[in-house]
Symmetry: C2
Subunit: 327 residues, 2 copies
């Protein structure tokens, strides 16, 4: 059996309270699906900030912005990140002035970084700024940065040694061979306000289909002690690897370079049975179901590719159904 058909539809009952852990595009899509079907108080999205960096003197939080733009309906539907109907007038003039151009910032997007930077410099925490931006963008569900303290994901590479994440990801287009990762500042970083409370109140934690190495792991490093003490026992991950490949981003390449055959099973193993109770893989990866079960993790397979808003809702519904079985 690869799917569960619950006799009573989930929507007819009290929805479970969910904490979703998310990185960029893939994570944002499932978070959006969950937000489409869960009431605001039943969903808190905790977002990776290890990718945050300073560019053009501005504090940029790529994953946080992607999740916010996606939930606000402002995201570029083609790329999955950045803003829809974006213009590039500032960028063109910055290019003329000799500014760095390897990271493209659109005009609408730039306002986010400008205003965030100004408020951070004024001493306001990232979580507070994000809460206010969300309210102004009409987002009703809680989106929290994993921490208000800076954490910098460093990618250790064979060719160039350690690279800051965006340098590896955007500037070097994920080409260098990965040896490992380091999350600078993670030891001192405290969970952002609201994270502990959300985990305490949740029925389940959902690991969105984001990169395990550089999107979910930084969050886990921040909340691992909470997962042990405060979080609900149900933790379900959705595999970002489908048929041995990632829909987007370097996760599969990273597994391979670290000597692990990229697969849904590899993702389940990466998190492990001490962290996960359930694991959702794509229908085309159903072959791994028994291997996942053998790890001591409940497997569930469904269509996980999210091409349309309806796909997001559908996967979110499957995730909630699966969780209800595990609670």
């Amino acid at each position: 059996m690869t799917n569960i058909n619950l006799p009573q539809p989930f929507t007819a009952r009290q929805p479970p309270s969910i904490v979703a852990l998310a990185g960029g595009v893939g994570g944002a899509k499932l978070a959006d699906g969950l937000a489409q079907i869960l009431p605001p108080k039943a969903l808190t999205i905790i977002v990776n900030t290890g990718d945050d960096f300073v560019h053009w003197g501005l504090n940029i939080s790529p994953d946080l912005d992607t999740v916010c733009y996606t939930l606000a309906g402002l995201a570029n539907p083609i790329t999955g990140w950045g803003r829809m109907n974006e213009t590039w007038n500032v960028f063109e003039q910055m290019e003329r002035l000799g500014a760095e151009t390897w990271f493209r910032l659109g005009d609408s997007d730039l306002a986010t970084h400008l205003e965030r930077t100004r408020r951070l410099r004024d001493g306001e925490p990232l979580s507070s700024i994000t809460r206010d931006f969300c309210a102004r963008w009409g987002i009703r569900h809680a989106i929290l940065p994993m921490s208000d303290d800076p954490v910098a994901t460093m990618v250790d590479t064979i060719e160039h040694g350690e690279l800051p994440f965006q340098e590896y990801f955007v500037h070097q287009r994920c080409e260098p061979t990965v040896k490992g990762f380091r999350f600078e500042g993670v030891e001192k970083a405290r969970p952002a306000p609201g994270v502990v409370e959300a985990l305490r109140a949740a029925d389940a934690v959902v690991f969105c289909p984001s990169n395990p190495w550089v999107s979910i792991d930084p969050i886990l490093r921040i909340i691992s002690h909470l997962l042990a003490k405060e979080a609900p026992g149900v933790r379900v991950a959705v595999s970002p690897i489908i048929g041995g490949q990632t829909v987007k981003g370097p996760a599969a390449k990273m597994f391979r370079e670290l000597g692990i055959e990229p697969s849904a099973l590899a993702v389940a193993k990466h998190y492990g049975e001490s962290v996960l109770t359930g694991f959702i893989l794509d229908e085309i990866d159903a072959e791994w179901m028994e291997d996942v079960r053998a790890l001591g993790i409940h497997p569930f397979s469904t269509s996980t590719l999210m091409k349309s808003p309806e796909d997001r809702r559908s996967l979110a519904r499957d995730v909630l159904h699966f969780i209800e079985r595990l609670v």
Copy 2:
């Protein structure tokens, strides 16, 4: 005689070397006229930076930008400041995020402030950044900020006490009644690199038709000791007041509020004969010629209203002819 007709046209001989002192729009127009007829090495423009301020966390130099945009052919021909073909996408999003909106920054213009701010934070002096921007904008004449050190023009008002210049000028739309001015930091501010050398090499100093109180005075405070020791003896001011009014800006209102009837004569008196050797007033103010002469300053009248690029060239040519008579 209100005009000088030199037997040999100026352009046939070696051009005089000029230092022009300029504020915003009016100053930029004459500076542009001078740049249209003088070769690059014969003109240095020293620009007021007392209006500089921080907005949205960005370092903004309104007069410097107006002069640069004007000489680069990038200025908005309608307003005289800001950029032509400007878009306002960042501004619209900033508004949505609750940022201050009393000072409008266009997208193309914003790039200037963003890149300048980044480089200032990196420790590069304003004069060096300006030199590089000018090269990238195709400006061949030297444009120098009066100083690399911060100077803040404060407007003392009856209604609100002391206001930072842009607060008075833009936010309060010049409505408060002026009691006086203070140039914070001017005592410690050193002339920017190039200012001393330009004054030493010049045949004449031209005071562009900018606001005497808040555009030219701050520059004079910085270079007054150089005017006494290093600068050429010929100093010619062009009246920003025509027929008792200013073409743009609050200069006439300021004179009035300080108890002085605004007129070309009032401008000549403001600078005084210890500073000026020559004074150019508009044809419609020819009535003041003898009064200016009585101050010990050579008067010259011509059409000073600059509506077209040709008007700028024409006034610049008149200024140079007048200077040649005084040298």
